[in-house]
Symmetry: C2
Subunit: 197 residues, 2 copies
DNA sequence: GTCTATAGAGGGATAGAC
DNA sequence: GTCTATCCCTCTATAGAC
């Protein structure tokens, strides 16, 4: 409620987001978060009741970031199928550039605790039942549109989830990796178009 | 060295594989492994020196399972590009059916500790420098073949990594999910062929 | 080889001074 | 609001009986 408190609370939340998202719930120590935030451990429990409470806030934010981008575009009836695909490919890769740890974090933690999905946002309505999925179904009547959604997201997300492996084994510099991801903004829509012919 | 010991040792290793692969290193308690193995906690440390030692064995096995399938086929010079793709799609999906937690486990743990890759198997030589990659390069001279590898693996792996989300949001029964994965054995090669035209 | 009991460290949470 | 000191539980690892 005080002036200072807002800044401190935000600092803790930012630190928690960083550490939790990078290491996951179990591997994260509250002491690490405090250190990252540049302050004492006791403040975590002063502002947020517990490690778990802090985590749930971070998780909700991350889920929103990961699905929030998707839902509005998927249901934008003014956009054609191709336009949706091109727009999502670009904006999703841009978002993943800024939040590279997000996909693996969400996939891992959600596997342990699938409850989150229902509680925070109802993805089923806005993703599975979206205008985008209807357009896919129309275009390819004999194939379940979920197939295309899985492939689309897989092509977008996998290179970020597997970045350490890719860079390690293919000996890619950061510049080379970044350039590849830039190229994918154009390539993935081309590929999807071809898959839908 | 005794007769009984082999069985017990294997039981522990199997339990460790299950729990570690499902929950990751940090979230796994040695007590859980002991319970899963149906025996006492002290036996873990009798057969394997520590939690970490046991983990490294499981990790090595999992890495081998995940990449071991790939390497021989990727370098089989008697197989055409299309044959390689078709064979890998089928065998990889079959393997993932049996080990659904494998990809997320390896991706997550490797992110924390990229050392593993170099130590256990040199993926760079057998995957990045494979005959498969050469074939891709020849077929599409103006596109980095890593793009196709990323998309191929993404399309194969993502549906398994995201299974809880998919099943939860799309309200898929296990049968429906399994059928989708079966369909992908044929669809993914068709899609890749089209991407390579 | 297998068990029970316990040592010892680490980490989440709180008390209480300022 | 912020800090130090500390409680207390959980978890890994080991000692020692059988």
């Amino acid at each position: 409620m005080e002036e200072k408190s807002i800044s401190t609370e935000e600092k803790i939340k930012a630190a928690a987001r960083t550490i939790f998202t990078r290491k996951g719930y179990a591997a994260t120590k509250t002491r690490d978060i405090a250190e990252e935030a540049g302050m004492n451990l006791a403040l975590l429990n002063y502002y947020f009741r517990s490690k778990e409470k802090l985590f749930s806030i971070v998780m909700a934010e991350n889920l929103k970031k990961l699905f929030g981008i998707l839902a509005p575009t998927l249901n934008d009836k003014s956009k054609s199928l191709d336009e949706k695909i091109a727009y999502i490919a670009t904006s999703y890769i841009d978002m993943l550039f800024l939040n590279p740890d997000l996909p693996l974090f969400v996939l891992s933690e959600l596997r342990q605790n699938p409850v989150w999905l229902r509680e925070t946002l109802n993805v089923d309505a806005y993703v599975i039942g979206s205008h985008f999925m209807q357009q896919l179904q129309e275009k390819k009547k004999d194939i379940n549109p979920i197939h295309f959604l899985m492939s689309f997201l897989g092509m977008l997300i996998f290179p970020f989830a597997a970045r350490p492996i890719l860079q390690g084994t293919a000996a890619l510099t950061d510049e080379q990796y970044n350039q590849l991801m830039e190229e994918r903004k154009k390539l993935i829509p081309i590929w999807l178009k071809c898959m839908l012919e």
